[in-house]
């Protein structure tokens, strides 16, 4: 026992207080001392606690008009989109932001290559990288690495906590106790993920196309020639973002964790693709590709852009498949969002 005890050890038995306290167990309190040997830096503990603040608490009323529905929705959208760049909005985690940055850079390799070889004037290599039908298709729908390493992973990271985190943090209460209906909520969440994907895919596509025009000094004839292709590819980018978003968000709405939707999305995209590829290589039948969201979209895009078809079945089947997959996902999403609890689950 040290010298600077703040109080005396309590006697072993509290007999002095004869009253039969509710506690009738053998009340023994031993070894009651504050064992500061005087060496530890006791100063470290003093400053932190906020003492009861002395300030005048004044209720300030606010008389203002509230904006209509579309402004509220804009606020949700802004909250999610700006969170990628700025503090004070939805805090996307660092790995997600870094990966988005990486993907934006990495998906512009074709821009860099086209520029490089265009500048050097190496026509063979420029033809290999420059804007043409196949390269436009490849910018959006190329499987390796874009649709295995870039876009699906971005979609998985974005979609992971989108709705499920609202469920686990209880922030869904913040939306639904305010004048925001479930449709708006789901639609804005959808739009935010879709837009981020759209900006990554179609943004870089547009850069690719227009940089080629500007730097290479392409003429009107070339532009008239290629612009329909570019538009078709642009539409393909939208279909791709839409499909990934709808599958991912529906997974996010059924789960409470952040990881099930992410793994689920990757599993669906890669698993169906792998299955179809096994069947294709074994029996030379491409039909199973209709269940793979990536391949269904790719097939439709091949038809739209007009590149060589790599699938044997008619592309309309893939179109139907794209519609069905999106329909199912959106149905699941709508169904789950309408049954979201107001409080934390």
């Amino acid at each position: 026992m040290t010298e600077d005890e703040p109080f005396e050890p309590v006697p072993e038995k509290s007999e002095s207080f004869g009253a039969e306290t509710p506690v009738t167990g053998k009340s023994k309190m031993q070894a009651a001392w504050s064992a500061d040997d005087g060496e530890s830096e006791s100063s470290a503990q003093v400053a932190s606690m906020s003492q009861g603040q002395i300030f005048e608490q004044i209720y300030r009323p606010w008389e203002g008009t509230l904006n209509p529905r579309w402004m509220r929705n804009w606020a949700i959208l802004r909250h999610h989109l700006l969170g990628i760049f700025k503090k004070g909005h939805r805090p996307w985690n660092i790995p997600t932001r870094l990966f988005i940055f990486f993907v934006v850079i990495a998906s512009m390799t074709d821009v860099a290559m086209a520029l490089l070889f265009g500048m050097i004037g190496d026509t063979t290599l420029y033809d290999f990288w420059g804007v043409n039908r196949d390269n436009l298709y490849a910018h959006v729908m190329g499987f390796f690495p874009r649709n295995i390493l870039y876009y699906p992973i971005v979609a998985a990271l974005l979609v992971g906590g989108m709705i499920s985190e609202d469920r686990s943090h209880g922030t869904s209460a913040m939306y639904f106790s305010r004048p925001i209906n479930r449709f708006d909520y789901a639609a804005m969440k959808f739009l935010s993920v879709g837009l981020i994907l759209f900006f990554i895919i179609n943004g870089t596509l547009a850069i690719y196309y227009f940089v080629d025009i500007l730097v290479m000094g392409k003429g009107w004839a070339w532009i008239i020639d290629t612009f329909p292709m570019f538009l078709a590819t642009f539409v393909c980018g939208i279909i791709l973002s839409f499909t990934y978003t709808s599958i991912g968000l529906s997974l996010s709405s059924v789960s409470r964790g952040r990881f099930f939707p992410a793994i689920g999305l990757i599993a669906i995209l890669m698993g169906t693709k792998a299955m179809a590829a096994i069947i294709d290589s074994l029996f030379d039948k491409s039909l199973l590709y209709v269940i793979s969201p990536y391949d269904a979209v790719a097939h439709v895009c091949q038809a739209l852009i007009g590149t060589e078809m790599t699938y044997d079945h008619p592309w309309v089947w893939s179109l139907i498949s794209v519609v069905v997959i999106n329909g199912l996902a959106l149905y699941l999403l709508a169904n789950r969002v309408s049954s979201l609890e107001v409080t934390r689950e």
Partner: protein
């Protein structure tokens, strides 16, 4: 008196024996820091027997204290002993411990009975023993009529009782309850308080933490006060109050004629001050509350005055906490 602090309990569960002649819980100069935050700084205490309330504000170190006891976190320095054994990386002492965590989460998909039997088997019971014990503890917390219902259907109070029951299944000597009353309605609260008191009466060592001081007052008078990671006081709350000599005790007596009544007190040595805060109140200040109170009924009866109230306005946990923490309440 002090147990052997060099002992590192590495023994198997079956071979593990509590060290005799030590307090059930012993903290020796335990500190715990999280990064730069000092959660506990040099806490020493020993507790055996009875119900003990752990008090302190949010962030005072209560939950860190419990986590250290339950081997969830490692002390930055110092030694912790449960029945004389270090609980970090050694779960052997928990065969004699029942722990009720603060978390509300329970396995909603299980029935109360299944939940308790499953966790009873982790104490090394066979299926038969486990189901026998489960039935016993569930009736102890009076949930025997619903024990085959899913926990997900239970209300908060019932869930708390399930948690308490699960902690009691091994007939523990030490029961630790972290905020057992939080979120319960008054009915459930009364039931749980009675259960806790009963456990104390059975001679178990029970630790209870709560934010609500008067709840603790209703359960026990044996308290530990933590503040900013330090033990400020420990023992019987009234005894602690008595030790706080620098704050004279106040006795307020409601009567018709306080000035008249005060004359009987002026002569007493123990009285350090008398004042009249209000025409019908007599305020006596003293450093020896017990002495005054011993004489008080006699004096009043002899004075023939109608006294309608006696109060020690600062002999409660709220005041103790306030005095000890330097008025930050």
């Amino acid at each position: 008196m002090m147990p052997d602090m060099t002992q590192h309990g590495k023994a198997e569960v079956e071979e593990w024996k509590p060290v005799s002649n030590t307090p059930v819980i012993l903290f020796d100069r335990v500190s715990k820091t999280y990064g730069r935050i000092n959660a506990l700084g040099g806490v020493s205490l020993g507790i055996s027997g009875g119900v003990t309330g752990i008090l302190g504000m949010n962030g005072a170190g209560k939950s860190t204290l419990f986590k250290l006891m339950m081997g969830k976190v490692k002390p930055s320095s110092g030694a912790i002993r449960l029945f004389g054994t270090d609980p970090w990386k050694n779960s052997a002492p928990y065969s004699r411990v029942g722990f009720v965590p603060e978390h509300e989460k329970l396995y909603d998909w299980m029935t109360a009975f299944d939940f308790i039997t499953t966790f009873a088997r982790l104490h090394g019971m066979t299926r038969e023993e486990a189901s026998k014990e489960a039935t016993r503890v569930l009736s102890f917390v009076s949930l025997d009529d619903v024990m085959h219902k899913k926990i997900g259907q239970f209300s908060k109070g019932m869930r708390q009782r399930v948690k308490i029951a699960h902690a009691l299944v091994n007939d523990p000597e030490l029961i630790i309850l972290d905020e057992p009353l939080q979120g319960c309605d008054p009915l459930a609260r009364t039931t749980i308080m009675n259960v806790i008191k009963q456990l104390g009466a059975m001679g178990r060592t029970v630790l209870v933490s709560s934010h609500i001081l008067h709840e603790i007052e209703r359960i026990t008078e044996q308290i530990v006060i933590l503040h900013r990671g330090r033990v400020l006081a420990l023992g019987n709350s009234h005894a602690i109050r008595e030790m706080l000599d620098q704050h004279p005790h106040k006795i307020v007596i409601d009567c018709e004629n306080p000035r008249e009544l005060s004359k009987d007190f002026v002569d007493l040595d123990e009285v350090t001050g008398i004042s009249f805060s209000n025409p019908n109140k007599l305020l006596i200040e003293t450093k020896h509350l017990g002495e005054i109170h011993k004489k008080l009924p006699e004096i009043i009866v002899q004075s023939n005055q109608l006294v309608t109230g006696i109060d020690n306005p600062d002999d409660d946990l709220q005041s103790i906490l306030m005095y000890l923490t330097g008025g930050s309440l």
